[in-house]
């Protein structure tokens, strides 16, 4: 297995505080670069050091992401286009990511990325114009029952918190967003020490590092930055145990959410994340005893899946399916979860196979610069790379799955959300 480590990651922190991670992949034509900023949709209430509480409307981080591309005399998106590169950005609960992929003119692309993220330009006119596009985006999500259900599940787990708001905000909240809100969020979070630049794919790491250093040395940033403290789950009320909505869907959709108990510092977070993936894999994957039984009984179908979200201040898991018998799905899943300690011991013989299987999937992702970068943003919130996952995973034992039982197996912290056909 030693060969797995031929993927060598170079990890630096530059003088201004920005973290740079470089993962060269020999033989690849494309280079994929991503700036990950440690701010997301949940950062709507925060307290900078020696300052009172600041609030911004729901959806501000996502709005900012849209507007950051537009500058006084250029549009970064078009600039990437002229360089022959593709660019994109996305906002998640805890982070915002800006990225490009290219097969040439790498230096110009890297400078464009660093410059447009690090030089804001918000005007009233441009901010007002974006309201239409973001409104359409929100409406499009509203028509997708899968997304409605997921958002309702998170909102039910964390009522009265920023997690209860959709990532893009609402049609009402986006009306309130002003240039000043974008600037406030920007000033508080878009600082080098709160960002990571990841470059993955075909490139020469030494040269890229020099380009980045040169670019960063030419810019001024405030020298003493401390990330504001975000008030995310401090105000969370009791879990809302049931939520239902009727929509014009063909078949019922149901999702069970489990609110975790702990705050996870980055180092433990990775272990917890992977233990969680193994836990759900052993209990619910196709290779488990439960899957086929539920599948053959018509309780789940190919849409069945689970997901784990592990952030610094909160963690939750969810399981969902499309089914004609939502009540049976709920009681079956509840029973398996309640019984998970015994079920895990029964499946202990499978542990090593399932661990190898996850290892194989992680190795497979290393065939794709995009998969490496996406996982870095979505699962790791910028804190670790897939190579770290491989190392940590190899050290896990079945006893580590107790972490998951301790955190998630608390029925009063569970919610059940359903979207039912309106006719």
């Amino acid at each position: 297995m030693s060969d797995l480590y031929q993927a060598k990651v170079l990890d630096y922190q530059l003088a201004n505080g920005i973290t740079v991670k470089l993962l060269p992949m020999p033989g690849f034509h494309q280079t994929y670069a991503m700036i990950n900023v440690n701010v997301g949709s949940v950062d709507t209430r925060f307290q900078p050091a020696n300052h009172g509480l600041i609030t911004v409307p729901a959806g501000t981080a996502h709005y900012l992401e849209h507007k950051l591309f537009e500058k006084k005399d250029y549009d970064a998106f078009e600039l990437f286009g002229r360089l022959g590169a593709d660019s994109n950005a996305f906002t998640d609960l805890c982070e915002t990511s800006y990225l490009f992929s290219t097969t040439g003119r790498l230096r110009e692309c890297l400078e464009t990325l660093l410059n447009f993220v690090q030089q804001p330009y918000f005007t009233q006119k441009k901010v007002d114009k974006e309201r239409g596009i973001i409104g359409e985006e929100i409406k499009m999500y509203d028509d997708q029952p899968g997304m409605r259900l997921y958002d309702a599940m998170v909102a039910s787990l964390y009522p009265h918190t920023p997690l209860a708001e959709d990532i893009a905000g609402s049609l009402t909240s986006i009306q309130q967003i002003q240039p000043q809100d974008l600037q406030t969020l920007y000033d508080n979070f878009y600082q080098p020490a709160n960002m990571t630049l990841l470059v993955v794919g075909g490139f020469d790491p030494q040269t890229v590092l020099e380009w980045v250093q040169e670019n960063q040395e030419g810019k001024q940033f405030s020298s003493h930055y401390q990330r504001p403290t975000s008030m995310i789950i401090n105000s969370a009320g009791q879990v809302v145990s049931n939520w239902q909505k009727k929509m014009a869907v063909q078949r019922p959709r149901v999702m069970i959410g489990l609110r975790g108990k702990h705050n996870w510092p980055a180092t433990d977070r990775l272990k917890y994340q992977l233990a969680g993936e193994l836990f759900f894999s052993l209990l619910f994957d196709e290779s488990s005893d439960n899957f086929l039984r539920l599948y053959n009984a018509g309780i789940i179908d190919d849409s069945f899946g689970y997901e784990l979200e592990v952030a610094n201040q909160f963690d939750y898991a969810c399981l969902g399916t499309v089914t004609d018998v939502p009540d049976r799905f709920i009681s079956e899943i509840h029973q398996i979860l309640r019984d998970s300690k015994r079920q895990l011991s029964a499946a202990a013989g499978q542990f090593n196979t399932v661990k190898h299987s996850l290892l194989g999937r992680l190795i497979g992702m290393m065939d794709s610069p995009e998969a490496v970068a996406d996982r870095f943003a979505e699962t790791a919130n910028g804190d670790w790379l897939i190579t770290d996952e491989v190392t940590t995973l190899r050290s896990l034992t079945i006893d580590d799955l107790q972490l998951i039982i301790n955190s998630l197996i608390e029925p009063e912290q569970w919610t059940t959300c359903q979207i039912l056909p309106s006719n």
């Binding site: 297995m1 060969d3 797995l4 020999p26 033989g27 690849f28 034509h29 494309q30 998106f77 286009g81 002229r82 022959g84 590169a85 593709d86 992929s101 290219t102 097969t103 040439g104 114009k129 309201r131 239409g132 596009i133 359409e136 985006e137 409406k139 499009m140 028509d143 997708q144 029952p145 899968g146 014009a248 063909q250 078949r251 994957d285 196709e286 290779s287 005893d289 899957f291 086929l292 599948y295 053959n296 018509g298 179908d301 190919d302 849409s303 499309v322 499978q350 196979t353 399932v354 190898h356 299987s357 996850l358 290892l359 194989g360 999937r361 190795i363 497979g364 065939d367 794709s368 610069p369």
Partner: protein, 418 residues
């Protein structure tokens, strides 16, 4: 490197040390008919979940887990009028894993293809019943994806009702109801013994060993496909238009333009660039003028259907903007036809297409797809795509754009003022 395993059965080995995984695709091709898609889709789902050696999904999944999380799946897709059933497999290569995984995986695939869960009476009834129910559920759930629903209804407006293309490649609920064990057996036998087969193996492999392993598979000779993928339909002067009312937040307006430009025709690369300028890239007229400048849509894009002679435009809009968006789209087409785009825009789009092509070289499934499409379209030779795109001129783009003729318009959403 290509090897003939039997008449109509080819093995294509693509050695590469770029990837940690080895990818295998076994592609079965037959002409789509008005009624074969559903049975083939159900067959794909049965074949990917069971075989005589691993009769349940659980046992099969455990076997795959033991092969370092190897993945096997089967699905259906269409290339022009050719219906394809593909079995795909991925596994960590033997050097990375430091253990032999490829040969056991090839053996497992042989079990899935040649020893499915059936006896002289037919496929295992319980397995078929479960997969049938599951497919029925997936087909019903498609209706919840409004963007896809609109696209599908546009396709049905565009295609003549007598054409096999009128029927979706993934099948229909009504066909599924009428399927029985017997129809599944005949679908399997014709797949196994009559379909053209193309097997692709891409990765760091020992070519000789791979060849020897597949040479043992008991394929019979069969006729290779006589026709190629291209589907031709003549332009009808009556515009096919349909407006459906639906209680959704965001309305969908989709258009289909007739364009007789086919894969690797002289007009193909100009057609690709034209589509890139229209709505196929983020630097396109639809994206910049409909979405960005006018803020009228969250998505607005176009696709060149180079195996069936048309261009599709999809938009997500507010119902009250129907007329404005529609005239704006038609205005973008007229501008293309009048050559109203700058040489910078042309270069940008060409660059973007070349970049996507190069990026595709980093994706094993994309490389295989490209090779498969070349096989099925009767153009198996490799081709310098960046060069061909680079040589496209403004005149060629305009000439292709002038052939665009609006054939079908589909709208889904709240009431509009006509």
């Amino acid at each position: 490197m290509d090897y003939q395993l039997a008449k109509g059965v080819k093995l294509h080995i693509i050695p590469s040390s770029q990837f940690r995984l080895t990818n295998i695709v076994i592609n079965f091709s037959a002409m789509q008919t008005t009624n074969n898609a559903t049975a083939r889709h159900l067959l794909a789902n049965v074949l990917e979940t069971s075989c005589q050696k691993y009769p349940t999904q659980t046992l099969l999944a455990r076997r795959l887990d033991a092969l370092f999380g190897a993945v096997v799946s089967a699905n259906v897709a269409r290339v022009g009028q050719i219906h394809t059933l593909r079995m795909r497999a991925q596994v960590v290569n033997d050097r990375q894993a430091q253990t032999a995984l490829l040969m056991p995986l090839i053996n497992l695939l042989r079990e899935l293809v040649f020893r499915p869960l059936m006896n002289e009476k037919g496929f295992d009834a319980a397995t078929v019943a479960v997969q049938k129910k599951s497919l029925a559920g997936s087909l019903a759930a498609i209706n919840d994806d409004k963007q896809f629903v609109a696209y599908q209804r546009l396709a049905q407006l565009f295609y003549d009702q007598t054409s096999p293309m009128y029927y979706p490649s993934y099948g229909t609920s009504s066909d599924l109801d009428s399927l029985n064990g017997g129809s599944l057996v005949s679908a399997y036998r014709s797949l196994r013994d009559e379909d053209q087969v193309d097997i692709f193996v891409l990765g760091e492999v020992n070519t000789k060993k791979v060849r020897q392993a597949f040479a043992k598979w008991p394929f019979r000779d069969r006729q290779p496909l006589a026709a190629i993928a291209d589907y031709h339909q003549s332009f009808h002067h009556r515009l096919r238009q349909q407006l459906d009312s639906d209680d959704i937040e965001q309305a969908k307006l989709d258009l289909a333009y007739h364009l007789p430009v086919y894969y690797r025709d002289p007009g193909y690369y100009p057609g690709l660039v034209m589509n890139g300028l229209l709505g196929g890239t983020p630097y396109s007229k639809l994206f910049l003028n409909v979405r960005e400048k006018e803020s009228l849509a969250y998505y607005a894009d176009s696709q060149l259907r180079a195996f069936s002679g048309h261009v599709v435009i999809e938009t997500g809009i507010s119902a009250n903007n129907y007329q404005r968006v529609r005239s704006l789209i038609e205005q973008q087409i007229r501008q293309l036809q009048a050559g109203q785009f700058t040489s910078e825009q042309l270069e940008e789009v060409k660059q973007s297409l070349i970049t996507s092509y190069r990026v595709g070289l980093d994706n094993p499934l994309n490389i295989i797809e490209h090779r498969l499409v070349n096989e099925l379209s009767g153009h198996p030779e490799l081709f310098n795509v960046p060069e061909a795109v680079g040589l496209v001129t403004k005149q060629e783009v305009v000439a292709v754009a002038k052939q665009l003729k609006l054939q079908a318009v589909y709208y889904l959403g709240g009431d509009v003022d006509e």
